[in-house]
Symmetry: C2
């Protein structure tokens, strides 16, 4: 065994393997907690998860790792195909100096880039800050629940102030090219500068607002049938059927129930999704399942050569969200999809859907309506909810506003962007859990996912002759095959900006999403 | 935090806590593997489990631990109530020098005894032997499956020879008071000398053989209705109902399905049981569930002050088996039990059981029949299957027979003890997985469980006025309460020999089991 780990690179691979095993074990502990753990087990379960994360942190930041990275980095730079100054200096796929995928150093360079990034983040943040953040967010989450119940932002305000202060400290510890928010965003969307998000969201905002007005003034979609009472057991069968049609492999995954749907990787061959069945809302499980199935297909589509390495997972939350939202919205809320699947749905619920046809159903799942709550928002207004959060986060981080100003700022921006003013903080600034968990810089990835998704779809439509016909024929596997070939299989070897360039030939462009919406809603005769 | 772990004892407690967290995490990885893991996840799952076990081994055997134990041991010896030379030198409960449970050092001494025992076993076995055993048994299990399928012992023989050789090496490494088998038995039944098992099994054998003849010659029990087709969903509901009646707490446990029923602790408040539903055998799930429920109640009944420590688990496999077998057989196969529960069972399966009454059912579940397979054996012949394995293991370890002699020796002993000769090795020497896993010294605990169980029951009947009436009234919680008070709550603070003495006032005595069987079968009018 010992001679297999002679080089610094091999030693890093071995350390990385242990880190991934710990990460996946931690994921199982969390999956079990959400899907069926006995309620009284929570205290020891928290200790188990903390131990896994602590062991991983200690292993990653042990004194030898920094030296090994330096040594391995030199080798890769000097190796065949290593003409660039460093992996992260590569100008991107297609540009000069990028190693082709056939280059034996291709994986090695990607591996080192991702591993070094993880290492840098882990060593730059002092242990005191990690501990203090964990304690603060633990208390903040409890306070957030109470504040939301009491509809009183002031109960959460001191916690949010502490979180913001720790977050700013973290940004300084990590460092950033232009502005502190870069360091925060980079955790979730590596390689994406804040300034680019600002440009893109600015364009998006300008386009979306009038579109919402045009659609809502013309649309007459009735979705009241969704609450007619749909037994969970039948919903479950239909959810399983949809996943099977999408090509989800149940020898490498599972579908379970949890309060909030999620996807988690417990191994390269063990990617699990969850959904929840609301008998008074037919749409909840259907679109929750398709959404998580999209995440699952991404993880399951990664090249098996990358399994068990830091490269063997989706490259960013934005790209991940592009895959889930493509399946949920671009495919799952398309008319061709329901032409194909509505008859099967109706066979399961003949009484509840007796007066509904595929066309009516397809219009109902596309009902656009300015509303207060992000997670209930439709495909068109959704990104505006995200832009609101991004602008507020940026204002906080750049000291343009203070935490105490948040409720008013939130309400003003809601009125400006979406046209309605929240009657309460509970339905406004207190609606999301993210800030109480310390996740500042996370929200933009939701809207980036919409944009990436539409830009990928545009390319897919060029490559595959008639995507709508594939969907209507139920040939979802051809779509999945394209995604795997162009996106999924690469795992994290390309950053999101590299990947969108490589696949579509240009950088992120919100025009594709706007075009997609305009085309879709004019086909629905509401534009 | 740091000042909380100043003393050697406190440091050991902290290390022990980590070890238990790793052990319980490993238990979750295995539970998930048996109950629902996607099939293709097996390879990484094996790595995850191996990592948890490796981390635990490294932590337990790190250089500081031996010193800490010595230092802590001195403190405990000198502390109040520490008049003995060492904890393990205590003559047992009630004897001179035993600290009363109220003594503040009581837990500390028990903790150190169990922790030191685990440490000693871990450091005495060289790493090479651990690795070689893991590799050998991994191959041996695959070979055993093939040998059993081919009904050809010679395919397994070389693997068994290697396992025996490694086992003998392990016994020498561990050391033993009288004979090598002591070291093997001690892993599963700490504190129990081989010589005592020999005496007890010798008595048991003498008594059981004629009893089997007397019962089978007089018994006319028909259990053919058990295969009438019982839908799994209804069986599941009945299994859940039985566990609830036994006082199994579903806020601290779960019931799932697996190919082979088992019980596992994932935490002091997370003890899970499994069963399997065979639609063509009504008894399989019922008695599997009750059996595992008995194991589960033991773990769930341990004093919560011991949770998360090495003392917070059942003290030996024999005592564990006594609790599962008490529930399965002494309670679950009693006539009063089925007077109470048969009407409920019949309500679930009115068609299948229309011509069956409680009395017929109670006789059917007690059908005694010499048979080839241990796991299908009845309550009376079961121990004879175990004695056969014990005698063969002892003969192997003491070089009285060689591995190549096993098939003939097995068949001869089967004929001698149970009166039938296996027609094939598959139904003889190759039927159990244990030896291929390297588990030599494990089998005796199954029969010890029967004996402990009957001895405990005798005491319970003295303490609770009319146990049969409690059962018939469905007051299983009173029985559970007695078990918790006298057995469960102590976890591992007493060894099995200490516990049986403490609870019943005498050492292990097979007479109680024989008396129980004679009384039971005479009530069934077959003696």
């Amino acid at each position: 065994m010992s001679n297999a780990f002679n080089t610094p690179f091999d030693k890093l691979r071995q350390i990385d393997k242990e880190l991934i095993l710990l990460e996946h074990t931690s994921a199982l502990l969390q999956w079990d907690q959400e899907t069926g753990m006995p309620s009284q087990a929570i205290e020891e379960r928290s200790d188990q998860i903390a131990l896994m994360q602590g062991l991983a942190h200690d292993r990653l930041t042990s004194s030898e790792v920094g030296d090994l990275i330096e040594q391995a980095w030199d080798k890769v730079k000097l190796g065949p195909g290593g003409e660039g100054n460093s992996v992260s200096d590569d100008p991107g796929p297609g540009g000069p100096g990028l190693p082709p995928e056939e280059d034996p150093q291709f994986f090695n360079r990607a591996f080192l880039r991702v591993f070094r990034r993880n290492y840098d983040r882990a060593v730059k943040i002092p242990r005191r800050l990690v501990t203090e953040t964990a304690q603060t967010t633990s208390r903040a989450q409890a306070a957030w629940i109470k504040a939301r119940e009491a509809d009183d932002f002031t109960l959460f305000q001191p916690h949010m102030e502490k979180i913001l202060s720790l977050t700013l400290e973290k940004a300084e510890a990590l460092g950033y090219p232009e502005q502190p928010y870069d360091a925060l965003l980079d955790e979730f969307e590596p390689g994406m500068p804040t300034s680019r998000v600002e440009e893109v969201f600015s364009d998006l905002k300008t386009e979306l607002a009038p579109l919402v007005t045009r659609i809502t003034s013309a649309q007459k979609a009735d979705d009241s049938f969704r609450s007619r009472g749909y037994p969970a057991a039948e919903q479950k069968k239909f959810s399983l059927h949809l996943l099977q049609q999408m090509g989800y492999d149940f020898d490498r995954g599972r579908l379970d129930e949890s309060a909030h749907p999620f996807t988690t990787s417990l191994g390269g061959n063990d990617v699990r999704v969850t959904t929840r069945y609301h008998e008074d809302d037919l749409f909840s499980a259907i679109f929750g399942t398709i959404h998580e199935g999209g995440h699952g297909l991404y993880e399951l589509g990664i090249d098996s050569a990358y399994h068990g390495t830091c490269v063997g997972e989706g490259t960013s939350l934005g790209i991940h969200e592009s895959q889930s939202r493509t399946w949920e919205n671009l495919i799952g809320r398309s008319l061709p999809f329901w032409k194909r699947f509505f008859p099967e749905l109706k066979r399961r619920f003949p009484e509840q859907l007796k007066d509904i046809d595929a066309d009516t159903f397809g219009r109902a799942v596309n009902r656009v309506q300015p509303s207060l709550i992000r997670i209930e928002a439709d495909e068109v207004t959704y990104s505006l909810h995200v832009i609101l959060r991004f602008e507020l986060e940026l204002a906080l981080v750049n000291h343009k506003i203070e935490v105490k100003d948040l409720p008013d700022a939130w309400n003003d921006l809601m009125e400006q962007l979406i046209g309605i003013r929240p009657p309460s903080d509970a339905d406004g600034v207190l609606q999301d859990v993210h800030w109480s968990m310390g996740a500042i810089g996370y929200f933009p990835t939701y809207a980036l996912g919409n944009l990436y998704g539409a830009q990928f779809l545009n390319k897919m439509k060029q490559d595959l002759s008639d995507v709508d016909a594939l969907i209507e024929n139920g040939d979802l596997l051809s779509i999945r095959k394209w995604q795997k070939e162009h996106i999924h299989r690469f795992g994290s070897v390309y950053t999101a900006p590299e990947l969108i360039q490589k696949v579509t030939g240009e950088s992120l462009n919100p025009r594709f999403f706007i075009d997609y919406l305009e085309k879709k809603f004019s086909r629905l005769n509401v534009l």
